[in-house]
Point group: C2
Chain length 162, copies 2
């Protein structure tokens, strides 16, 4: 169930850091009932092993710039796996595309894009369609309201078996 190289103390550390990445090491050590030095060593270890992939400030971007956020589903025509590679490289290059997932189902990618307005999105969508990546169709949705903003994953599944 739990990977054998992660114990409950690690989980507690990760849970706290998911909620408050800027907590002091001392306070963190208190919350997980460890001495500061032991706690720090675990945190460094979690970083080195790639279990913590980064620490990010969450910014209210809509209060800083004009921001229209688009969730776009991209469908490919021919499924040449190579064309995925080209497409991937392209979207990694575009700062407006802030997130991209390959998904199962009727569509191939789900993108999250930030633009100033709908016209800018039109330009980008046209670019993706016309770039000869094999993109056949783009379905876009505009984000109206962040009802539940992401604030970390549950690291233990709460749901119990029947």
């Amino acid at each position: 169930m739990l990977p054998k190289d992660i114990d409950r103390t690690d989980l507690r550390i990760l849970n706290v850091l998911q909620q408050d990445a800027r907590i002091t090491n001392q306070a963190l050590a208190d919350r997980v009932a460890l001495s500061p030095s032991a706690c720090l060593r675990r945190v460094r270890d979690l970083e080195a092993r790639g279990l913590i992939t980064g620490y990010r400030a969450q910014v209210a971007v809509d209060r800083i710039r004009t921001a229209t956020i688009v969730l776009a589903q991209v469908t490919f025509g021919r499924h040449a796996l190579d064309s995925f590679g080209e497409f991937d490289r392209r979207i990694l290059d575009m700062p407006e595309i802030v997130e991209a997932c390959r998904i199962s189902g009727a569509h191939d990618y789900m993108l999250r894009v930030i633009v100033n307005d709908v016209h800018e999105w039109k330009d980008i969508a046209r670019m993706l369609l016309g770039g000869d990546y094999g993109v056949e169709r783009i379905v876009s949705h505009f984000l109206m309201d962040e009802v539940k903003p992401f604030s970390g994953y549950p690291l233990t599944s709460s749901r119990r078996k029947a």
Copy 2:
């Protein structure tokens, strides 16, 4: 273009903190060419004004637990605005639903859900459909690959006018 209560120094601070929330105040001050005290005052101000909404460690959740991540589009039947409120409260309560956005277009919500397996997702989807919230249809996509993981928003739009 830029809100008058945010200057370029604030933007640089936000940009650095988006990439590395655990940087020390001194190093941050260096990077934005400010004294530590001036820098710290700005950071506290950005927090107090709600422009920074939190600091989060990014965790490689798939290396910690069995994780199937679902992107689900939820469509309502009758558009009673009240039923949205009930639905909202419900999803805020469910730890498996880690993000929820109201969107425009053919569907009403986009959810990001983490479950152990497809069966668990089936249970949750059935719950949402049967809970008398007015949910009419759920289209689900399973996340196959995080091609471009979210790592902060561009705070200045790079695209220039034609």
